[in-house]
Amino acid sequence: MQARGRYLLAGLAACLLAGLYLRPGRRRAAAASPPEPEPRRGSALAAGPAEAGGGRRARGGAGPAGGRCRMETCFDFSRCRRHGFRVYVYPARGRLSEPQRRVLRSLRGSRFYTPEPGRACLLVLPLERGPRSPDAPARPPHWNGGRNHLLFSLHRDGPLGFEPGQALLAQAGPGAPGFRPRFDVSLPLFPRRLPQRGGARAGPFPAPRRYLLVFEGQRSPSGLGAQTRAALHNGRDLLLLTACRPGPGARCDRPAAAADDARYDSQELMQNSSFCLVPWGRRLGFFRFLEALQAACIPVLLSNGWELPFSEVIDWNKAAIIGDERLLLQIPSITRSIDHDRVLALRQQTQFLWETYFSSVEKIVLTTLEIIQDRIQAHISRNHVMWNAQPGGLYVLPQFSTSLADFPFYYCALGRSPAKEFTAVIQAASPLLSQSQPIVRLILAVAKSKYCTQIVVLWSCEKPPPPRSWWPSVPVPFSVVEGEHKTMSSRFFPYDLIRTDAVLSLDEDTVLSTNEVDFAFTVWCSFPERIVGYPARSHYWDSSKGWWAYTSKWTNEYSMVLTGAAFYHRYYHYLYTFYLPGSLHSMVDQMANCEDILMNFLVSAVTKLPPIKVTQKKQYKETMMQQGSKTSRWADPEHFAQRQACMNSFASWFGFMPLVHSQMRLDPVLFKDQVSILRKKYRDIERL
């Protein structure tokens, strides 16, 4: 019995021990025990019984009117299908704030504007100043619960005061609690002195700067208390200044004021710092944000939960440091950890974004409209690259193509180079009478180029085009297009016929040799986003008359290349036809002049760079001047005066002078060198 008790005890203990050791879930035990065959696990996703067909158009709780809106539920797409993306602006009755008025002016001047509400896809309701009754917006005739309406709620307009319902809200200012993602648009808060159109050019490449991080604000802003300030401020490269004696544009460093009475100018401070602290969510921060962008100071945003301007399309991580208010004290170490290359890239991006989307009221308004248009036509919209890389979304029209490879701007980013082929487009204005006419010689010379894959003659002569047999026979596809409107602008119409990226635009009286064409084309391949051509012209500011002057004299610099003989990318045809307003087109058509100037304006506005002149045989100019009656327009003084006038109206439409001067010409490497002509590849260019 005794023994039995002992054995029992021993057994129990052993059992307990074994139990403890084999306690499920202990690694050691599991490792000690022989591996058990793992039962085959079931798949969670293997096709089970097919789910029921699913409700058609089952929209998860299709929003209570207003409150929660998405484009699919609160926007009537069918309105846009009929007449395209057209914007109507209601006439304003009450008093408007200054920003509101400027926004409306830009809307009315945009290419989307329509005066007929019936044709509009989007209707803009001006917000009047002063207190609004809650039923105020019910009055507009097409309101319909706010459907397809857009309201620009700018900071000076005060609170909205009524339910926007199904209307889209383009909102500036911090108070965006009810922001409806992918429905509302977040705007920047623009300062009073922002120009209406145009806008300043970016500065030089941002060089390394004196200060690392600056903050400059009036009162102790919430969240940035004196303690934090003291922890961050070091007086050397981290400056956090709060105002003590508010003077005009100058602030002093309060805690250090006793020690050194250093005064800093707010603009200067930003110009001299790599990073600028922007406590988002306060009105001051909003203004600081744009100022920092403009000054190429990388904004360090403490932006918990606020929608950054145009955040739907702009990748702010490429231009700003998005910090967390809660981790304020980490900001110095974060900014220090960002290396030189990244700082350079971020700062260039600030300049790019500023210049592209924020430097004028018009750009802000157009960006808003383009964002909405991209949503409406989701399948033909700009992708991320188009919005965030040169030249920016406003100059890239997805209606031309949604493929990056079809634009002249992204060859490098895609790791490609332009295809070695071009289409010659010859504008023919005079009837074909003899085989010795310049146009015949031109066609033959161009067709001999090994890069030429197609020749298109745009027949803009009143007489019908001659039969095919009259034209010289060429080894490449040859076609004659008779435009519907034989206008000047039609030479830049994006004909479907033109399939190559490169276009060689020619006048019928241009004299070119095959060598010249080949050389210019190889140059174009290095600069596919620019116009590359032969005869150049220049502009200058005539301060005595106070206008832009045009000159065709031989000068040491040029800013335009005539499109009577020039290579450029086919996209510019599209841009010329659909980006520029009808007013400029009709001006060109009425005068039958200036189309080349306008093209140069456009391309320079897009690229911000001058065109490229390549060398040519010198008789070109003389031939042009001595041409018969048909081309006498070059010698005509009135013709010249028109071009002068064109320059000034174009500059006023663009809001700035996009043309840029160049002082160089590209020649073949051995051009006019004292070496045997047999060594030279482009010999004809030197022969007279």
């Binding site: 074994a18 969670a44 996703l45 949604t402 590849k681």
Partner: protein, 718 residues
């Protein structure tokens, strides 16, 4: 404890056979057992954390031996998901902290078996997919086994498929997790949300503040910047190997392969097919298949049977329509086949849309516009289609392929939110490897013409040719835009001449003495360089005129991201030797300019000194040669652009010499230079140099025009 009970019952049965002489033996045994018991007890209840030893390992996920947790009926349920949650409101960022690697730490709870108060299992054990997902996380850099250091917590409770869950009990199980804290920093993975009849687009399990990585979010349930939209994994991915097909036109233009479609959609699709004939193929499930063939892998049209998913490779566009749920596994199959998905599901948040640019890989068509689908797709240019096909396949390979890919992409997205300044860029997420390899992102991408007023800094590298150096200094100082002259004195054995001996020039002249005679000293980003433009010039280049130098500076302003120089050189492929060859003869082409006289941006000094790939910098210093070729490689590689050769000048040194360039003609020199090109090309892994056929001359160069009216009349012709 069932094991011990068993032992217990067997114990007494043994006793009758025991003999007393074995007593000592048994006492010893007993003592050992007792000691063992005490030791175990001490180990068990030792204060060190048990959790730290219970890390997530392969053995832990063994289905057997998992602890059982009983959930009382009244145990707490988390609140429903809070729709207003954002990273800054619901996420505890302090747990993640600032760390130099900028990587979040993820902890995985150990596996437990949950039973309700009646002992019924709350859920099945974890599925194969969830197991793969957890394994992927535990094998990744994100994983930590220390619960106290973790920033993100992943429960071992499988909620991938809501159909298999008991919602209330699962929620209770979540709530009793040791660090649950209202779900803060917890991440749940779900692919099939909702259930009949209304199929919610997010997981119905109340989860309070937990982040949800969900497949099939709609804009109504998706908390932008908080939740992560993930794909619905297709188990076919592992079963079927679909080789990548070259982009290009395919047999069918539009293909629909989904089986359980709403009849209304199906009639729309059939109308489309009737209208457009052969180019549209609408498939359905097979009804007349013999037994044994898995119906998942077959699709039928009328009596024709197609293999699925292989048939997807025969189509250019593949339709991905919403079913009861928005997220469809077919999307993954379609991408795998390199077919361009046509997504027709209003308000659907596409997988990983926070970082992936779906516009480059898919076509999204509003449900309303379904009848217009054909014409919409027809309007897409062929080039774009091919790009999208390539992009679609790349998305699948990188982010859809396996549960591991999905898990890691999800964690990376969350990581990017917590450390936005170290986030992966758009290009890193979206560019396929081939594009990443060949694309160039110019570090000086802003199209600018720097102001002339800034001027340039001339840097003269010299050893001991003082006389020649002084001539160069005097010549260069005549250039109007020169703003500073820097002499890099590379001779440690000799001191530079006294101040009084230097030529008197109108701009500051500064001499930098180096500590070692290295060629790379000429490219050091000295603090003394205050201008953007740098003119590197050798101490024997005396023939360049002031007009030529000023013109060179003007050209640099137009091309600030390029090397703009005077002596042009070319690299050629030597077909006989099968390697690169250096060429300095009269050529029609240029691919390099020598930095014996060249303008460039100061930034390239920084790049040369700190970012030169491989051992090139040391190699150049050791060989005392080819620093200029290295600079040409470096600039061409980062900018993807060619150099600009300015002016016709070919002769730079002595006016008496008849040779083109004394030094360069030397045969051994040419061989060495060719060696350099081959060496650098192998280090860069590519030949970055670009060949051009042009040079820059002043606009009126050699024009029949009065010389005195030209800006740069004095341009040497040789």
């Amino acid at each position: 404890m069932c094991a011990s009970a068993k032992y217990n019952t067997r114990g007494p049965a043994l006793i009758p056979r025991m003999k007393t002489k074995h007593r000592i033996y048994y006492i010893t045994l007993f003592s050992i057992v007792l000691l063992g018991l005490i030791a175990t007890g001490m180990f068990q209840f030792w204060p060190h954390s048990i959790e730290s030893s219970s890390d997530w390992t392969v053995e832990k996920r063994s289905v057997h031996d998992v602890p059982v947790v009983k959930l009382p009926a009244e145990s707490p349920i988390p609140e429903r998901g809070d729709l207003s949650c954002r990273m800054h409101t619901c996420f505890d960022v302090y747990r993640c902290g600032f760390n130099p690697k900028n990587k979040i730490k993820v902890y995985i709870y150990s596996l437990k078996k949950y039973v309700d108060e009646y002992g019924m299992l709350v859920s099945n054990t974890i599925s194969r997919e969830y197991n793969e997902l957890l394994t992927a996380i535990s094998d990744s850099d994100f994983y930590t086994d220390d619960v106290n250091r973790a920033c993100l917590f992943v429960p071992s409770i499988d909620v991938l498929n809501q159909n298999t869950l008991r919602i209330k009990e699962t929620a209770q199980a979540l709530a009793q997790l040791s660090r649950w804290d209202r779900g803060t920093n917890h991440l749940l993975f779900n692919m099939l949300p909702g259930g009949p009849p209304d199929y919610n687009t997010a997981l119905d399990v109340p989860r309070d503040r937990a982040l949800l990585a969900g497949g099939g979010f709609s804009t109504w349930t998706y908390r932008q910047g908080y939740d992560v939209s993930i794909p619905v994994y297709s188990p076919l991915s592992v079963e079927v190997e679909l080789p990548e097909r070259r982009p290009g036109p395919r047999r069918y233009f539009i293909l629909s392969s989904q089986m359980a479609l709403h009849p209304e959609y199906r009639s729309d699709l059939e109308a489309l097919q009737a209208e457009n004939g052969e180019s549209v193929l609408v498939l359905d499930k097979c009804t007349n298949l013999s037994e044994g063939v898995p119906s998942v892998r077959k699709r039928c049209h009328k009596n024709q049977v197609f293999d699925y998913p292989q048939v997807l490779q025969e189509a250019t566009f593949c339709i991905v329509l919403r079913g009861a749920r928005l997220g469809q596994a077919v999307l993954s199959d379609v991408l795998q086949a390199g077919c361009v998905p046509v997504v027709i599901a209003d308000s659907y948040i596409l997988p990983f849309s926070e970082v992936l640019d779906w516009k480059r890989a898919s076509v999204v068509i509003p449900e309303e516009k379904m009848p217009e689908m054909y014409s919409i797709l027809q309007s897409i240019p062929q080039r774009q289609i091919e790009e999208m096909q390539r992009q679609a396949r790349w998305f699948w390979e990188a982010y859809f392929r396996s549960m591991k890919a999905i898990a890691l992409a999800t964690l990376q997205i969350i990581n990017d939110r917590i450390y936005p300044y170290a986030a992966m860029s758009y290009e890193e997420w979206n560019d396929p490897p081939a594009v990443k390899w060949s694309s160039v992102s110019n570090p000086l991408f802003l199209p600018l013409i720097p102001p002339q007023s800034q001027g340039f800094t001339a840097i003269v590298l010299t050893y001991d040719r003082v006389e020649s150096l002084f001539r160069v200094i005097t010549e260069v100082s005549k250039v109007p835009s020169l703003s500073k002259l820097l002499v890099v004195w590379n001779n440690q054995n000799k001191n530079p001449p006294e101040d009084s001996l230097w030529p008197k020039i109108r701009v500051p002249l500064k001499v930098v003495k180096t500590t070692e005679n290295k060629l790379s000293n000429r490219f050091f980003p000295y603090d003394e360089i205050e201008t953007e433009a740098v003119l590197a010039i050798d101490d024997d280049i005396i023939m360049l005129t002031s007009d030529e130098l000023q013109f060179g500076y003007e050209v640099w302003r137009e091309f600030p991201d390029r090397l703009v120089g005077y002596p042009g050189r070319l690299h050629l492929w030597d077909h006989e030797m099968n390697k690169w060859k250096y060429e300095s003869e009269w050529t029609n082409e240029v691919s390099m300019v020598l930095t014996g006289a060249a303008f460039y941006h100061k930034y390239f000094n920084y790049l040369y000194t700190y970012k030169m790939p491989g051992d090139i910098k040391n190699w150049v210093d050791a060989h005392m040669n080819c620093e200029d070729i290295a600079m040409n490689f470096l600039v061409a590689n980062v900018t993807g652009k060619a150099v600009i050769k300015v002016t016709p000048r070919k002769k730079f040194k002595c006016p008496e010499c008849t040779a083109i360039d004394g030094l360069s003609l030397d045969q051994t020199h040419m061989v060495e230079r060719s060696e350099c090109i081959n060496k650098f090309a192998s280090v860069f892994g590519t030949m970055p140099l670009k060949v051009v056929e042009h040079r820059a001359d002043p606009v009126l160069y050699k024009d029949d025009f009065p010389e005195k009216l030209k800006s740069f009349p004095n341009i040497g012709s040789l």
